[in-house]
Structure formats: structure tokens, C-alpha cells
């Protein structure tokens, strides 16, 4: 996979994740805002799709998403603080 394609997949996770983070903070203090609730739902659904793609093409984003077939792959990929993980 090209660096460009990896960068796209990671960007999608980061953008969707940030939209969710921002919506959560707003909803904590505005729990009945229907626009914000709809935004959250959209952002969360997009985050799920983005994480799914990341898992399939790059590796497990969280350790509960590791496929424990014959090897525990959680510690195989570069960690996010390594330059290699920031495409």
C-alpha cells in the first residue's frame, strides 16, 4: 500500500474521531440539542466505517479489534509516537 493511501485511511479515522470528540463535549453540556444529537449520530457512524477500513487495511486500532487467529498482532505495528506511524 502506498504512503498516500495509508495517509488517507488514517486521516479519515482522525477526522471522524475528532468530530465525535467535539460532539461529545458539546452534548455533555447540551444533552437535548437535537441538531447536535443528529451530528453526533452521523459522526459516530462515519467513525465506525473509518475504523473498519483502518482495521482491514492497516492494523488493529484498539486491542479488542485484534483477530486472534494464530498471532497476537497488537504489538506488531509502529506505535503512534513513531515517525513511521505518521504517514
Amino acid at each position: 500500500m502506498s504512503g498516500n493511501e495509508r495517509r488517507c485511511i488514517l486521516n479519515r479515522v482522525q477526522q471522524a474521531g475528532f468530530a465525535v470528540d467535539e460532539a461529545v463535549l458539546y452534548l455533555d453540556t447540551h444533552p437535548c440539542d437535537s441538531n447536535a444529537l443528529a451530528f453526533y449520530q452521523k459522526a459516530r457512524d462515519e467513525q465506525k466505517r473509518a475504523v473498519c477500513e483502518y482495521n482491514a487495511k492497516i492494523g488493529p486500532l484498539t486491542n479488542d479489534l485484534v483477530e486472534p487467529a494464530n498471532r497476537w498482532s497488537w504489538t506488531d505495528c509502529p506505535w503512534p509516537w513513531e515517525k513511521e506511524a505518521n504517514y
Binding site: 474521531g17 484498539t62 497488537w74 504489538t75 505495528c77 509502529p78 506505535w79 509516537w81
Partner: protein, 201 residues
């Protein structure tokens, strides 16, 4: 990046009030061998750890330590949430109460505030892992001492759980140290720093 789970790792359900017990247990939040020190130690050491499996172990144990901070805070809070002024004075909890009332603040039982001086991140894999092994034993001893001091069954159960986790972490760090030593030239064990002199291995 972290996510929060809305649960404790092990339940904390304490009916009685005992600022006297809270006063010693808070040392495992902000004391020299407490859970804050543990979380900060591992989560800061992992950046310079040259072996990815060991760096992952530091992330995962460091994350669990954050959950242990929460358990200790929950124990202290539940032991003090209904205290009266009489309870405060009788337990000698007044010196904490005057600054924090019923709030949670990381300090040692002696009153010494939490400080990063209680842990190291040396940038040397061998040095750091020996520190981690020692830290787990020191925390285990502290939990043993808490169990000698506190006889409330609702408090002892989560404390016994936390004590057992120290033993498990010690075991895993022992294996991590072996992995790092195997990565190194065995003729040269202590003569180089695997985090600095050979950073890509």
C-alpha cells in the same frame, strides 16, 4: 488516543465511613509507590522503549494503572462521603480536610503531594525495566501494609485485587526485561544503552 469506559475494573461498594482508612489508602493515589506514579512512569517510559512489544506492554499496563487511580479514588471518596466533623477530628483527617474537604487530591499518607520525583524515565530500556520491577514490588508491599491496617471487608476486597495486579505486572515486566536482553548482544549486556546506542533494534 484514549477512550473512557464507564465502569471500574473491579467493583468498589463501601457502606461504612472511615476517614482513618481513607487517610492511609490515599497514599496509593499520590504516594511514592502509588498508582499515579505507576501510570506516569510507564506511559512516559514507553517512547524510548526500543522493542515494540515491550512499548505495547508499557502502554497497556500504564492504561490499567489509570483505571487503578480511579479505583483508589473511588475507595477514598466512598469512605469519606458521609463523614461528620466529629469523624474528621477523631480520625485525624482534619489536616487533609482543611485543604481538600471531601475532594480527591493525590498525596501520600504523610501529606506529601504527588511528585514526578518518585519515578524515573531514564531513556535506557534495562534501567527503566528494573525500575518497573522494583515499583511493582514496592506497590505490592504498600498494599500488604494497607491490608495490615484496614479491617473493613468492603475495602479489603478491591485492595486485594489491586495487590494481585502488582504481582501480575511484575511477572510481565520480568518477561519484558528478558525480551530486551535477548535483543542485545549477550556479551555486552550492561555496556550499552539499547534505547540510545541501538535505537532501531
Amino acid at each position: 488516543m484514549w477512550n473512557y469506559e464507564n465502569r471500574l475494573q473491579f467493583p468498589v461498594k463501601i457502606d461504612c465511613t472511615s476517614p482513618a482508612a481513607a487517610k492511609v489508602i490515599i497514599t496509593q493515589l499520590g504516594g511514592p509507590d502509588g498508582e499515579t506514579a505507576a501510570a506516569m512512569r510507564y506511559l512516559n517510559q514507553r517512547y524510548a522503549m526500543p522493542n515494540r512489544h515491550v512499548a505495547g506492554l508499557l502502554t497497556d499496563i500504564g492504561t490499567e494503572e489509570l483505571a487503578h487511580m480511579e479505583m483508589i479514588a473511588a475507595i477514598v471518596r466512598q469512605l469519606t462521603r458521609n463523614m461528620t466533623m466529629e469523624d474528621v477530628k477523631k480520625a485525624g483527617f482534619d489536616t487533609y480536610f482543611v485543604d481538600h474537604t471531601g475532594g480527591i487530591w493525590p498525596q501520600a499518607a504523610s501529606g506529601m503531594p504527588f511528585s514526578s520525583m518518585v519515578f524515573q524515565s531514564k531513556g535506557d530500556a534495562i534501567t527503566d525495566l528494573f525500575e518497573d520491577l522494583a515499583a511493582e514490588q514496592k506497590a505490592r508491599t504498600t498494599y500488604d501494609n494497607i491490608l495490615r491496617l484496614v479491617d473493613i471487608p468492603d475495602v479489603r476486597e478491591p485492595i486485594k485485587f489491586l495487590r494481585q495486579r502488582e504481582v501480575t505486572h511484575f511477572q510481565r515486566f520480568g518477561e519484558a526485561l528478558r525480551m530486551i536482553q535477548e535483543d542485545m548482544d549477550c556479551k555486552n549486556f550492561y555496556a550499552m544503552n539499547p534505547s540510545f546506542d541501538n535505537p532501531n533494534k
